[in-house]
Symmetry: C2
Subunit: 518 residues, 2 copies
């Protein structure tokens, strides 16, 4: 066989050079975005309070530079050259970077600058108006902003995909490929199955004791416990940090600089602990990314929903299961002996899995959470297809709460004004929370099928092979596959909500003594 | 009197518009530099150790963007337009921004890109080679890098100012306007006066007791003490932070986000305390900057030497004087009772002002420090005028140490390899330390003349009016005046090294019982 030579000037060589030019530009942009990550983290965790205005100006300047770079006509030109040559002689990583760069370039260049600016300004102003309206419980103060944001998002979506329904274009920002056609039957199934389950739980004669979760819990001890468990699950503190912020989050820069936060209240240790575990799940996705192309799109997390699946995998599927409680009960009891010395594993397990309808999404449990999401999904869908007027949304909200959870908010602050998302113009984000929960459950089912003694490992506190499984099957895959293809590869089938339904029914039938679940 | 109208299209209006365009560009650049400040601070204080490589790439990308912005031909065009119209109808702030922008633009565009890149790469590589050479005490490993850095700096200076001696061009980077012609007689005077003083101090029969400064000092107590004193001097913790790093520094972003660091050793509380006071002096310069134009050159610190004068003003002129010890002795004694309960103010004052020749610049005291600087100045001067070859520098160094301080380093590590500066290509920086010390002394003399009861205030711990004096006379002036003009305005005369000499002679004649100082 003759060796094949590649010449300078050959089409392949030129394509490689063109690709390298594009990659350098994307990498520069990736690094600027990493810097933005550090600025945001710093602002939430470290920054002196007097620096708010200066930081806003810094972020605006950096965002301006990033926008210039993203819309650089040279990027468009490189993309045209690469695309006109077809996929020949480029590998899957290169093709993915080209695909993602095209998507980002189109999104940045298809929308008129005035619309982008009005959206940015109104989102920033909207946040303050929303916060004040929530504080004063006055939906009418927020309604005009909401009205305008909806109008602007309609325009934005029309520029991006004129033939596609607005709400599908918006969901696609966060959960690539998600459409109402796809979501509707899944959410209908969840409603059909979970509304009666929630009712049965509420009506059960047996209600777990949670009294020992109240009390005084030293913040220093909480922090120590959180670090111990985060490290045991696999968070690499050489490539990350754990700090405190008002709202827990996972941020930072690249896979070697992943920063999680939590918050501590001395009257409750579960909140800080589960926040740590949740953010550790996000963080391990970031730390587990592929070794190559780390400042390029291909190595980045696939979607918001897949990211959420990683946090929920550890928070719900692992750390809210009985085997986990069995492993850590002794540590919990020695950390907080006054409260937990006498508590059995079963009592502890039941208490941390209490199911109780609540007005507030972020305070709700894994059974009621999907109802909060479905309510928002239906409202967002109705906003964009014209079913609901902005003025009637509080009423719609409250009726749906009544129907799905059997409770009715007394104020808009604990109803329609509770979430920050809409004030920043983020419509279509909510479904990814519940898709994340369903993915997490399906992933858990897959690893369990492959590893029948999975719960034995958990009972022994051996999490390394679980983290490696997630890393090799999901984290290192970046954006190489679509969500659907990833699910097929990892679990053998596309999203199947029955896993999630079965998981909830089995678990809560047992906890609440509701008899066999089918 | 008829009111004067300004029309759109009038020359004044056009000039204003042109200026505003320039200012927006400079402001964007200023904000990117502030971001760089946060990245550097984060790297030294917070960053996970695994993130070194990613951070270097982020910084390189941001530096690349800043370079593009600084050399943007549109900046050159705006400067040409503004300069061709002369100073009419622009105020001093605007004219200063134009002047500074011109200087920066010329410096960035006059030097060929290949030279800039070789310098950047060699400086970065040079740092590692120097660190290793110092560790292994092998000057010969560092010499070739030093040789090449000197050659590159000669080329650089020639591109900037072909008619000016290289070393003057280099000193001008840090201390605008400083020339050998200016420095030579001043450093000669210092040598003439201080070499005999140092000898007399060494030969004095009276040597203060410093034993109580050794011992065990709780780090938590040190931190509390540092914060208390920093705040008392006037550091605004709402617009800044205090943390820990390997080398103390003052960094951060803008005047609302000034971040100082110190380091703690449990065997020594003076080091952390004086580092805090020193950095507090730098920080108050930053926090005291003018309210307008905060991301523009006019509001920035005047020179490296003036910056150093602010840190040394507080570290030496204020906190190493007896009145300061009188005020804080009780706090020191209650903070560290095991060590200081029985120590008198006079004994404490003498101990913290001990003068003792040392091989290492950063460990030296205010009397011997200028000798370390003069030695480096003479060597740098000789490097660039061809007097010294790189190979003979260790010998030159050791001989000068012998002449000026009466001690001879046994190794290059405690001799010529001790400082980081040259490894990064920074020649001409050292003089600004001693000019800062002389400015500080002259400023102190000026405020003392205006305020005869100054030491009464210090004895009572009332520092606010001192800080305000510095702020109004120096900090808010930014770059509006030259150093010479600033000194004239604040002290009534240009730099007069006699204040510094008299201060040292008076103070150390008293401490070491050397009799009247003249």
């Amino acid at each position: 066989m003759k060796p094949s030579f590649k010449f300078r000037g050959s089409p392949n060589f030129i394509m490689q050079q063109t690709y390298q030019k594009l990659a350098r530009k994307l990498e520069e942009l990736g690094q600027l975005e990493q810097i933005m990550g550090i600025l945001h983290w710093d602002q939430e965790v470290i920054m002196p309070r007097g620096a708010t205005q200066a930081r806003a100006a810094q972020i605006a300047s950096l965002a301006g530079v990033a926008h210039e770079k993203r819309t650089d006509p040279a990027v468009g030109e490189l993309l045209n050259q690469l695309e006109s040559n077809g996929p020949a002689n480029l590998g899957p990583h290169e093709l993915c970077n080209i695909r993602e760069a095209r998507r980002a370039y189109d999104r940045e260049t298809k929308v008129p600058m005035e619309l982008v600016q009005e959206l940015a300004e109104l989102s920033s102003k909207g946040h303050h108006i929303w916060a004040k309206a929530r504080e004063e419980n006055k939906y009418s103060d927020f309604a005009p902003v909401l009205e305008r944001l909806i109008e602007l998002q309609k325009q934005w979506a029309h520029h991006i995909e004129p033939e596609t329904p607005t709400y599908d274009v918006l969901m696609d920002i966060y959960e690539r490929g998600l459409t109402m056609e796809h979501v509707d039957p899944i959410f209908e199934l969840l409603k059909t199955e979970l509304v009666p389950l929630i009712r049965a739980i509420q009506e059960s004669d047996y209600q777990p004791d949670t009294s020992f979760l109240q009390g005084e819990f030293s913040v220093a001890q909480q922090e120590k416990l959180g670090r111990t468990i985060s490290e045991a699950l696999g968070f690499d503190f050489d490539k990350g940090r754990m700090d405190v912020s008002v709202h827990p989050f996972c941020g930072g820069a690249d896979p070697t600089d992943v920063r999680i936060t939590t918050r501590y209240g001395s009257d409750n240790f579960m909140e800080s602990l589960f926040a740590v575990i949740h953010e550790t799940g996000h963080a391990m996705y970031e730390q587990g990314r592929m070794e190559r192309d780390r400042a390029l799109p291909v190595s980045e997390a696939l979607t918001t929903g897949i990211h959420e699946s990683q946090s929920l995998f550890w928070e719900r599927m692992i750390s809210k299961q009985k085997a986990f409680c069995e492993h850590y009960m002794e540590l919990f009891a020695t950390t907080f002996p006054d409260n937990l010395k006498e508590v059995s594993v079963q009592a502890f397990y039941e208490a941390i899995n209490i199911c109780r309808p609540s007005f507030i999404r972020v305070e709700s449990d894994e059974v009621t959470y999907p109802m909060h999401i479905i309510l928002r999904y239906e409202i967002e869908k109705g906003i964009f297809d014209g079913t609901y007027a902005v003025s009637e949304l509080p009423e719609v909200w409250n009726n749906k709460m009544q129907d799905y959870l059997g409770i009715r908010p007394a104020t808009d602050a604990e109803g329609i004004l509770q979430d920050v998302h809409w004030s920043g113009g983020a419509f279509g984000y909510f479904p990814s929370y519940t898709f994340g929960a369903m993915y997490a459950c399906q992933f858990y089912n897959a690893i369990r099928k492959e590893t029948p003694d999975l719960e034995q490992w958990i009972r022994k506190g051996e999490f390394q092979s679980i983290r490696q499984w997630l890393s090799q099957k999901i984290h290192v895959k970046g954006k190489l596959l679509s969500t659907e293809a990833l699910l097929r590869e990892v679990t053998g089938e596309v999203l199947n909500p029955q896993y999630f339904v079965a998981y909830l029914k089995n678990k809560y039938h047992e906890i609440y003594r509701l008899g066999p679940s089918n």
